[in-house]
């Protein structure tokens, strides 16, 4: 049990370091295409963290929806809106605005870090059990049936809206 816990912790910190590095590259990198590829690393890391949290269905959905669909959508968006390839100096706001944004980010991190530490401290998960796909589907199709239907309508509306907006006529 202890060996498993140590392995989980090592995996967590390794993946978390990769994710934070990738996220920083997403928001600082000078090449749009590279930013999208760093985002792939972050999203795959999120899927790995779900596996560590024993949430198998959400992890697989993350891979299917984010890595499979949304990244492809981003790559299409980049290719359709970019005029020249390679690096672009026009991606960022002025240095003053960036400093302000960094200040806001650091302040926010400070406040959230303090309140999280204050609220949860060293609380442990206890023994994580796998949250099986069958149980998730039971929950969706009984307790959360109405929100599920609303989400379906929302997805349909978004689909129609995207087609209407992007259509050339």
């Amino acid at each position: 049990m202890l060996a498993l816990l140590v392995a989980q912790n090592i995996a967590f910190y390794f993946i978390a370091a990769l994710m934070v590095f990738g996220a920083l590259r997403v928001v600082t990198c000078k090449n749009l295409m590279h930013a999208a590829l760093w985002l792939v690393l972050v999203l795959a890391g999120v899927a790995a963290q779900y596996i560590l949290l024993a949430a198998e269905f959400v992890a697989i959905t993350q891979v299917l929806v984010y890595l499979g669909a949304i990244i492809v959508l981003f790559l299409f968006g980049i290719m359709l809106t970019r005029t020249k390839t390679g690096t672009d100096d026009n991606l960022n706001n002025s240095a003053g605005a960036r400093r302000m944004a960094a200040l806001i980010g650091v302040l926010l991190a400070g406040v959230m870090g303090y309140s999280l530490w204050d609220g949860f401290g060293k609380r442990e998960f206890g023994e994580l059990t796998v949250q099986r796909t069958a149980e998730v589907s039971d929950s969706i199709f009984s307790t959360y049936l109405l929100p599920f239907e609303v989400i379906s309508i929302l997805l349909l509306a978004a689909l129609i809206g995207a087609i209407v907006l992007a259509r050339r006529d």
């Binding site: 816990l5 989980q8 967590f12 978390a16 996220a23 920083l24 997403v26 928001v27 749009l32 999208a36 985002l39 972050v42 779900y50 560590l52 949290l53 949430a55 269905f57 959400v58 959905t61 993350q62 929806v65 984010y66 949304i70 959508l73 981003f74 299409f76 968006g77 980049i78 809106t81 005029t83 026009n90 991606l91 960022n92 706001n93 302000m100 960094a102 980010g105 926010l108 991190a109 959230m112 870090g113 999280l116 530490w117 949860f120 609380r123 998960f125 059990t129 949250q131 998730v136 969706i140 307790t143 959360y144 929302l154 997805l155 978004a158 689909l159 809206g161 995207a162 907006l165 992007a166």
Partner: protein, 104 residues
């Protein structure tokens, strides 16, 4: 594993996403930063769901809400990129600072 490991990871990703939204002027990169923010929230939801699952195994609200957030994010990206394409078609630029027609 501590609950705070995952919560801190979510908080750090959230702050990086907020920095990206504020510091970038390319609309596609702003949308990518919003994806970072949504994913950090999802990590929080699944972590709390796992914490709750230990005491009440029949309760999977955290995961269900994470799935809902993923669906909303997909819809948001679809419509958002369609809007960006339309702006690019009309103005030949996706600089968010150029879209100031309604500025007083």
């Amino acid at each position: 594993m501590l609950v705070n490991q995952f919560l801190f990871l979510g908080a750090i990703l959230f702050c990086i996403g907020v920095y990206g939204v504020l510091a970038r002027r390319n609309a596609v990169l702003v949308l990518m930063s919003i994806e970072l923010i949504l994913n950090s929230v999802n990590i929080n939801l699944v972590a709390f769901g796992a914490l709750w699952h230990v005491t009440d195994p029949s309760n999977l609200s955290g995961q269900v809400f994470a799935l809902f957030v993923i669906a909303i994010a997909a819809a948001e990206v679809g419509v958002g990129l369609a809007i960006v394409l339309l702006i690019h078609r009309n103005r030949q630029s996706i600089d968010v600072n150029d879209v100031d027609l309604m500025k007083g």
